[in-house]
């Protein structure tokens, strides 16, 4: 507190600094957080794949496979248009009634048949994207999906979406988790899973 003694006008900043310095000197040093040497404590990651557009599926699969490679526990909740990515590529028409079938006709399901959100041009855009990616040795969403599954990432379909589109477990790719609802997703988030909505 020598500063304040030398300057009787009491510069508030100097007083504040002196106070803080005094405090830190007086207080016992707290133990630094325990994770200084250990690898950081990992949270679960929860990706929510809502979109069926190529670039967003790609981003989802890229993050999922990387999480798997980094041994970060990762789940992907697949809902609405996202579920179209997880229908087997060879399925052409899905659904039970004519409206569900029409939806499948208008937008072909399967991860290898995804449209771009911009510059789709009747499939020309996705074809060019795929060709560019192959030239760059970038893996396709389908390849990344296989890697992610091998690395232990869990893909969980939305029950409500399956009902709405008339999809069965048999329509979906192998290795999908049990269909669940929104409560499971909210439960995971409230328990600390880091969520990301794509």
């Amino acid at each position: 507190m020598t500063m304040t003694a030398e300057r009787p006008t009491l510069d508030p900043v100097a007083v504040a600094i002196a106070d803080v310095e005094g405090l830190t000197a007086a207080e016992p040093q707290l133990e630094p957080a325990q994770h200084s040497e250990e690898p950081s404590k990992l949270h679960d990651i929860l990706l929510i794949n809502y979109s069926g557009e190529l670039e967003k599926v790609w981003a989802t699969m890229l993050l999922a496979s990387t999480a798997g490679a980094m041994q970060v526990p990762c789940r992907v909740f697949v809902t609405f248009w996202g579920l179209q990515n997880f229908v087997k590529d060879e399925k052409r028409i899905t659904g039970r009634n004519w409206m569900q079938k029409m939806l499948a006709v208008m937008s072909r399901p399967g991860i290898s048949h995804r449209p771009l959100s911009k510059m789709n041009f009747m499939g020309m855009g996705p074809w060019m994207m795929g060709t560019l990616a192959r030239q760059q040795k970038n893996p396709s969403p389908r390849e990344l999906l296989v890697i992610a599954q091998e690395m232990g990432v869990e893909f969980i379909p939305c029950q409500m979406t399956m009902d709405m589109f008339g999809l069965t477990r048999d329509d979906l790719i192998e290795g999908m988790g049990e269909p669940v609802g929104a409560a499971t997703v909210i439960g995971l988030m409230s328990e600390g899973s880091a969520p990301l909505f794509i």
């Binding site: 250990e38 490679a69 890697i147």
Partner: protein, 78 residues
């Protein structure tokens, strides 16, 4: 760095994100604890990515060199 110690090599040259990390994760799985893995990569992003991967998985990045075009990482399995 004794090169004879390196038991496994991953050639990720020409591969782009996230494949160098993915290939490395696949290769390190069957290795014995304490053994060394060498990765060659050309993706400039892999420098930061390998540091993050090692922090997350607990494997140790023991050496990292570059000749400007190719990055070389030596990783000791946890």
């Amino acid at each position: 760095m004794d090169l004879l110690e390196i038991t496994t090599k991953v050639d990720a040259r020409g591969l782009s994100c996230p494949m160098p990390i993915v290939r490395t994760a696949q290769a390190i799985k069957p290795m014995a604890s304490g053994t060394l893995l060498e990765v060659l990569a050309t993706d400039p992003g892999s420098v930061k990515d390998f540091a993050a991967w090692c922090r997350s998985t607990g494997h140790i990045l023991v050496d990292q060199t570059s000749d400007g075009a190719v990055y070389r990482f030596v990783i000791r399995r946890k």
